[in-house]
Amino acid sequence: MLIKRSPDIRSSEITPKEIYLNRRRFLAGLPLVGAGLISVSEAHAAKLVAAKSPLSTTSEKVSSFEDATTYNNYYEFGTAKDQPAQNAHTLKTSPWQVSVEGEIAKPKVFDIDAIMKMAPLEERIYRMRCVEGWSIVVPWIGLPLSALIKQVEPTSKAKYIAFQSLYDRKQMPLSDRAGIPLPYVEGLRMDEAMHPLAILCVGMYGETLPNQNGAPVRLIVPWKYGFKGIKSIVKIRFVEKQPPITWNIAISREYGFYSNVNPAVDHPRWSQATERRLGEFRKRDTLLFNGYGDQVASLYAGMDLKKNY
């Protein structure tokens, strides 16, 4: 076989020195410009160092930061998609404490800093499918929920975990119009909570969470509809019985405790067979367990997923 040598570089192709020096000066200036922009829009955003995780979904294009931070459901800050980004600046995320209590050997109130140090932070790129029929792909940063669970030593009575969001009408002046009972509450079965894909999320896109995305700490359970990912958590309670969850209290016929992503089980008012990935024109097929079936389907073996919606 003949191996062709690439021809020597022609002198005309060599970048003159002053131009490449200019480029460097230009690039050196960029971080400052970028940081300036961030400080206007995200006053509290701080860089986070996180290791890449093998559990990330790397086969799909990550959604833009813009889409992920301006199209949000956070009813405490308004029910329109663009309202949380406009209004959540009133949320005070520091100091922040999370009370961990219930059926555990070591109940404790943790500072947010302590939670962030419970395990090394990881970047987890996950699909996120909203029950409303749209989806995004987000590089979350967080730690396995199991790390916290192990630390507080659940008793044999701990069968479920109940989560509660901050509810402060002073910080959330629009919360009276949310149309759902508050504070927002969510829950997981213990084996769901222990699953390696379930994370306590403290950041996204290399930074701490923007307020509208649930700062300073939220839940991410990628195989479930987005509303299971409770935001701005202040309380985690280990309980024996299945805890109530907000959307089920609001409209029980439409939103169940499990709320696993399932294209075969329609929302009573709309189909869940397809979804619109933000930034795409045509809808795409929704995947069972949001595409994480290989990892999580065994949690629901023998369960009727239509009944346990």
Binding site: Y71, K81, R269, R282
Partner: protein, 206 residues
């Protein structure tokens, strides 16, 4: 009188097109947010309901403000309600469902909020078709007026469509419902008043 001037109709016509221009311009500049199709769906739906309300307000306003000439604009405004309804339906059929007809038929049959929305549009269809002077003559004024009362049912179906669609915050659909309800009551009250006035008059021979 200003309302009888020809150019006022042109001005109103152009104003009625303003929402298309605003959304079109925003779309051209990529300012429709993270979910442009949803934005367009909501905008066209909102404007259908708004134009239905505006159209329904014409007769009560004519009588209450004694501005009989407002009638010149009613047909155009009603047709704009239909126009925005068509844009809304097109957005759903094309941008949302991408002409997946089996899925669309299933939606209309199975999903109450889509059934209501489709009903609202269907009810507007014969009214749009028979909106010309020729059709009024052909059907006869009395029957034509009876037929065109269907616009109230269209508006009510439109409000129900909106109410059934929202997840929890029902303020906006309730607001539209209140407006349509008030306009309907006004219309009933005014027609009772008119019939009382008209009653002693002898029947006209034509």
């Amino acid at each position: 009188m200003l309302l009888t001037r020809r150019w006022t109709k042109v001005v109103v016509f152009l104003l009625c097109l303003a929402p298309v221009a605003v959304v079109g311009w925003a779309g051209y500049n990529d300012k429709l947010g993270a979910n442009p199709i949803e934005y367009i769906t909501h905008a066209t739906g909102d404007w259908t309901l708004r134009f239905l309300c505006i159209t329904l307000a014409i007769t009560p306003l004519r009588k209450l403000l004694k501005l009989a000439d407002l009638i010149r604009f009613r047909r155009m405004l009603g047709l704009f309600a239909f126009f925005y309804g068509c844009l809304h339906l097109t957005t759903y059929v094309w941008l949302d469902k991408f002409f997946d007809w089996p899925e669309i038929v299933k939606d209309i049959a199975k999903r109450p909020f889509i059934t209501a929305g489709f009903t609202s549009w269907i009810l507007m269809l014969p009214l749009a078709v028979t909106s010309t002077t020729g059709w009024i003559r052909r059907i006869g004024g009395k029957r034509w007026r009876a037929l065109h009362r269907a616009v109230y049912f269209s508006a009510i179906a439109g409000v129900v469509h909106y109410y059934w669609l929202v997840k929890s915050d029902v303020r906006k659909p309730v607001m539209y419902g209140t407006i349509v309800g008030v306009l309907l009551l006004l219309r009933i009250a005014l027609s009772i008043k008119d019939s009382r006035k008209a009653a002693p008059r002898p029947a006209m021979i034509t």
